[in-house]
């Protein structure tokens, strides 16, 4: 055989894209969950929970986005094809939210350093500059069961010193509101296109847990509207394994929808 193959092409095959790193970072948020309803908003989190169920968290329950819980796996952006294992109309989902065996990953428009989030309105509440969705289930989700967040575009517009309308309850506000709010309050991770955060166990503040390959701590700081809390050595977010990459590329997202959410 003649040597016409660009060696870089072969190497690229094994190298994960930024979107793929984000997928496994989202999946890792659902590690060791046991039997838990995993609700994910956004393309990359949706791939992430299916990856988690296919690999290390096989007992997760996943909705078809309408009103059934469905087994198996199927590509994002296509109708669910697996076996229906439960009827879960909104009323049942509401019950499960307050029951607590659910871990949601939501997409906040604003996040502050204590993990308070806003999906309601930006600006003066009586006459917002930007009206968003409304609080939806964020107030109840955050005080009843584990909550993580996905930020597809990490910027100072999202990571702000103060959110304009606290929809999802952060660690400081949950503590202030007393045991009714804090007893089941459990913020887990914030995954962004640049990094992964967890929370300081005592202060409840966002803490840089890892930066994605190719991203520096300084870059994350520049895109964050409050001082970053980080150790001296910030690890790199793990790379997907070869098996995970194959699942993402061939089974979970063959159309490459993940690249529309996070490029590069």
């Amino acid at each position: 055989m003649t040597n016409v193959m660009d060696p870089r092409a072969e190497a690229n095959d094994a190298v994960a894209s930024r979107a793929e790193v984000c997928v496994v970072a989202c999946a890792d948020a659902f590690r060791n969950s046991g039997e838990m309803l995993a609700s994910a908003f956004g393309t990359i989190p949706a791939i992430g929970v299916r990856l988690a169920r296919e690999t290390f968290s096989p007992d997760l329950l996943i909705s078809d986005g309408e009103s059934y819980l469905v087994r198996g796996t199927w590509p994002v952006g296509t109708p669910a094809t697996g076996e229906v294992e439960a009827w879960a109309p909104f009323r049942t989902i509401f019950d499960l939210v307050w029951h607590g065996k659910r871990h949601v990953m939501m997409i906040p428009s604003q996040v502050d350093r204590y993990g308070n989030t806003n999906i309601s309105a930006v600006g003066d509440y009586r006459r917002p500059k930007v009206q968003l969705l409304g609080v939806r289930g964020a107030p109840g989700n955050t005080v009843c069961h584990p909550t993580s967040y996905w930020v597809p575009r990490h910027s100072t517009r999202v990571f702000v010193p103060r959110v304009d309308m606290v929809s999802g309850v952060g660690n400081d506000r949950a503590a202030q509101a007393g045991p009714g709010a804090s007893r089941y309050h459990d913020l887990r991770r914030v995954v962004t296109d640049l990094a992964v955060f967890d929370y300081h166990p005592e202060h409840g503040t966002l803490r840089l847990a890892s930066v994605h390959p190719g991203v520096t701590v300084a870059q994350v700081q520049d895109a964050t509207g409050f001082p970053l809390e980080a150790g001296d050595e910030v690890p790199q977010t793990r790379q997907p394994s070869a098996a995970e990459l194959r699942l993402i590329r061939e089974v979970l997202d063959p159309r490459g929808l993940r690249d529309r959410e996070v490029a590069g």
Partner: protein
Amino acid sequence: MADKRMTAQDVVSRLTSGMTIGIGGWGSRRKPMALVREILRSDLRDLTVVSYGGPDIGLLCAAGKIRKLVFGFVSLDSIALDPHFRAARQAGAIEVVEYDEGMLQWGLYAAGLKLPFLPTRAGLGSDVLTHNPQLRTVADPYGGDEVVAMPPLHLDAALIHMNRADIHGNGQFLGPDPYFDDLYCMAAEQAYMSCEKIVPTAELTAVAHPATLRINRLLVTGVVEAPNGAHFTSCTPDYDRDEDFQREYAGSAAGPDAWQAFRDRYLAGSEADYQAAVARRQEVSA
């Protein structure tokens, strides 16, 4: 047994300006759009509307019918945000009472059960309590956690749309989710149900399990047969959301001219005119 059939005009003639009206369905799914359109044609105004909001809210906002909205979200599902609702909010044109979506359910349920409140953790720590200073917390008389006392959401009228119904007011959903339509009816002084088709009672259970009969006639004041009456929201299995029409609707928020054009094309005439315009539109695009 009472025959509760009536027209959409009959329904709207029983409503008055300033009323509190609950609208069933969810987002852009199985909304009583034919009844909403009849409100658009009326001179009703200053309404307080309670809804898991979709284009019902956008349309009523654009037509200036809403004084106050009680809501948890407004979304078109396949289009995340309703532009008419956003425009109304960003102009400061409507007052809002914003609840967690579970609190909204609890408020309807409390009204239906004639309870002074229902307890919940939802809302604690969030700005839902800041912006609703009328909300109170309540101590657990058994020594547990202090929680929010969600007050009842009493409705003067409820509007819902089902797949099938009989003339007496028994209503059936055939799609995947009953949503909260029975709770709206229970919370209301008067409840009006439109449906795709009115059928003999026996036919309701000939085709589906009795569990699909979510709406009981003792909750219902009037029944309206309104084929395609949830258009352009989904009403599965009878029809899916008309995505193309929904995009046109969203585009009508681009400015006063776009809204006027949409209004002239679809909302100037009767419901029959609306359905004819929709049918013509589908022929052209087919």
